[in-house]
Subunit: 533 residues, 2 copies
């Protein structure tokens, strides 16, 4: 058992933005990456690997924007790169220069540690590979960078040639690497393999060397392998949010951290971090535009869901008889199935977070909980739509929410004309301050046209809407559905000069769902900062 | 390392039909259960737990129909039940009678082994619980049944009171149980816990006792825990197809078996069983009406999918450098994901995978690579859209692709009327075989209306399109974008009776992007199986 005072020794290293992006179907925008980094920092990870500035132009842009826009409270941003090319001076390697130019204080360099890969993939000699490791690590250190080294294919390499794999690790430490990370790149290991190899390596290197672990999930053992490595003496764990990654994915950092804290009694997140885990997990899934996995350990919607039956009455006696931990520990809830979603406790918690105190108003909390359950059963999701949730609570509190406008009707037309031009046009008819206002606008697509027409109708009465821009727009077709004949959920992220907020709309028609989310986005702006007119 | 001669000692025990049915969203019909049992037998598991005939009428029906309709080649059907009620004669317990009446040759009985559950959930004494175990096991044996005993909450119980938990196990063996199964019912264990407790128990009981293991995935370690138990001497593994089960699920029996065979060198399935695993996994998912998990270890569609362009040339040299096993071992395939990072090597590999040989056509491969890069830079993504990629390659090969129809124009209208009704209507004007065809249709939303109108226009010329349905529809707003004024990527997954395929469309107008993906989906169907008209 260790305590918070041990924290500086142990690293929680997230690579959602770099290795997680290898998952089939993930394609982050730079804005997505900035938002994900914010959530990870809020959770309290120590390091966020942001990308490979030498390889992808969008990663270079990410580091530039992160420096200007991200205000990380706890985490350090890490740039990923490779050891210098064979036969090249390290200072002349453009990829190493890009690392320097990224401005990141910490580098994570990947190196070959399986001698077969050195020969067949790198096509160089074992000796030159060691020189590449030594040169690149010591160059980074000489430039004032903290350097971690990822040993690719370490475990396979160690099995094939333990002396060479050990040489790579020792070379990196000698050159000044702060951590050397043992990677099960192909993901073929079992916990017993990890124990055996980490133990042997530490016996060789001495126990003061700070080793890290990076596991892939190809044997469905990535989380167990990571935990086992920590038990064998590793002090730095790499993983990704929700286990995103190539093939079956990486070690799920959330399960790793929860196991370390709840099962091994280590403190690896700042105070209160663990309770944010479920929310952060779902928020990142939304940003990645992936459905959260209901069956994910600890944070899944079904992680503490019990089908009624022989256990139901015993659960009432003592929920901990049937749950391995208190779900609140990780910000999750127990559910008895058939009932939908969140309990009153989490509604109250969330409202408090938004500055709306419901503790003296159990009637309001109960009504909000009921409405949330009803709406979520129909496909709404408030996890990523704080502004819609806040409007709902304010509605029930009757505390100042006035609907500043109401819809009479709209019509949107999209035409692909014979000449090939594609045009969209929307007309909205709304009531504002007792008057009927009609406006028509064109747009790049149906939703853009609708947004333009709505703003045109409102701008005279609410000039502050001029500063509101739509920062992001996401569409999800909901599960259990069939093709285009399905329920659609739209998330709209809006921003003005001082803040960002997200609203949600659900309908079987994507345009109607978008209308709802758009009009809530503008209503939120008008409701929460009184108009200055 | 053991060999096939060890087989009779070791049990692969499937509980997809009993414990797997606890998963949120699963509701098997009796016909579903019979079909799943057939697939599991084909794979070669030793035992199939069919249900609890005493508790659920449909399970009683299942055993009756199984006796008449199932022709199991390898597996033995097992009936699940509980030890007799406290204070009741075993022969008078209706639930035990139902077990007898099921006709099953093998019973799996659940018993409490955590003394706290004995007192608080069963509300009986530790002594009576031991008598319940002894009576029910020996009664089954006296009736000629082979009896397994599941010790519920064994690991938590052992931690709390090892002597009592051990007593329950010893009592069952003394009464004639063939296997005693140690269950991590709440799923809170790590591999180190399993090793420690199984090792201690075996030291107590002697090494000839046949112990089993049943793990839940609440720490994301169910597969690792199961493998670890086998390494500690357990000879009977319980799990479910694809890890279905309550909360985060049970140990995924497929990953367990593949690890035992591929990593520990045990032979636990009949000859040829392992190669059926991917097919059986997907078939059971279909029957359970759940989407197969693309990222599942060993059997997922993405389990051997590689995105990284920089690895593609090395993969050509030797695929095993980047796969932990040969995917064919478990009946799966390697896939190369075509992405913007892709070079010509991965385009060629991908084309080969689709049955289009580009090796003699470097000009075509170069043109395809150039077009892929160009299109992906504009937001297209071919990694999930094999059908669009294939159409692109066929276009460049000029090998048989004819555009079966061309668009003149379309118009889509979405109206939210004053009464609140939301309606969508589309009109398309297309050219088919030299004629101009106009069709109008309504739909739930703009894309549904467009799809309906397009099919209406084509169905007379291409009646085979009647069998094509849209299985899924995904929308992504792209990168670097700002709100609704953004590039939209649409993925359409279509299917007919024999296959599924995915197409992509990109445009700043969601309706136009959808049009492209929809018309490619129909073109793909018409191009790759010649029209029969």
């Amino acid at each position: 058992m260790t305590t918070a005072t041990d924290r500086p020794e142990f690293h929680v290293f997230d690579t959602t933005l770099r290795d997680g992006a290898q998952r089939e179907g993930i394609r982050y925008s730079v804005a997505d990456k900035l938002a994900i980094a914010g959530h990870l920092d809020d959770l309290g990870v120590d390091f966020i690997e942001g990308g490979w500035p030498g390889a992808l132009p969008s990663d270079t842009e990410f580091f530039a924007r992160a420096a200007a826009e991200l205000d990380l409270k706890h985490a350090t941003l890490v740039a990923f790169g490779a050891t210098r090319k064979a036969g090249v001076q390290v200072a002349d390697d453009p990829q190493v220069r890009a690392l320097l130019d990224s401005g990141a204080s910490t580098w994570c360099l990947v190196a070959k540690s399986d001698v077969r890969h050195v020969r067949r993939a790198l096509r160089t000699t074992p000796g030159e590979n060691l020189a590449m490791v030594a040169d690149t690590v010591s160059y980074g250190v000489s430039q004032g960078r903290r350097v971690f080294l990822d040993c690719e294919h370490f475990f396979d390499g160690y099995r094939h040639d333990p002396a060479y794999a050990t040489d790579v690790v020792a070379t990196a430490f000698d050159a000044g690497a702060d951590v050397v990370v043992l990677c099960d790149t192909n993901g073929g290991m079992l916990p017993s393999d990890i124990t055996e190899i980490v133990t042997a390596l530490r016996a060789d290197l001495g126990e003061t060397a700070r080793l890290g672990i990076h596991c892939q999930n190809d044997t469905a053992c990535a989380v167990a392998n990571t935990i086992t490595a920590v038990q064998a003496g590793v002090m730095h764990v790499q993983g990704t949010a929700n286990g995103y990654g190539e093939r079956p994915g990486n070690a799920d950092l959330f399960a790793v951290v929860a196991n370390l804290e709840c099962k091994l009694g280590l403190t690896v997140l700042p105070d209160g971090g663990l309770r944010k885990m479920t929310r952060v997990s779902h928020a990142i899934a939304e940003i990645a535009n992936l459905a959260p996995d209901a069956h994910q350990a600890y944070v899944g919607h079904a992680a503490f869901a019990h089908k009624a039956g022989l256990h139901a009455s015993a659960i009432k006696v003592d929920p901990l008889m049937y749950n391995h931990i208190d779900p609140q520990t990780v910000g999750n809830d127990m559910r008895i199935l058939v009932t939908e979603m969140a309990g009153r406790a989490s509604v109250e918690l969330k409202a408090t977070e938004l500055g709306l105190d419901l503790t003296g108003r159990p009637d309001v909390a109960a009504r909000v909980t009921r409405r949330v359950k009803e709406l979520e059963a129909r496909g709404w999701s408030f996890e990523a739509a704080d502004a819609s949730f806040e409007l709902l609570v304010r509605d029930e509190l009757a505390a100042g929410l006035t609907r500043h406008f109401t819809l009479d009707s709209y019509r949107v037309i999209v035409e692909h004309r014979a000449g090939g031009a594609v045009v969209s046009e929307a007309t909205v008819k709304v009531r504002v301050a007792g008057r009927r206002v009609i406006a028509t606008a064109e747009g790049n697509g149906p939703v853009h046209a609708l947004d333009s027409a709505l703003r045109k109708a409102l701008i005279a009465d609410f000039p502050e809407l001029d500063a509101v821009r739509l920062a992001d727009y996401k569409v999800r077709i909901l599960a259990g559905s069939s093709g285009t004949d399905a329920v659609t959920r739209v998330l709209v992220e809006a921003a003005d000069d001082t803040r960002e907020w997200t609203t949600v709309g659900v309908h079987d028609n994507v345009v109607e769902a978008s209308w709802h989310a758009l009009s809530e986005a503008l209503t939120y702006r008008l409701s929460t900062q009184p108009a200055t007119v």
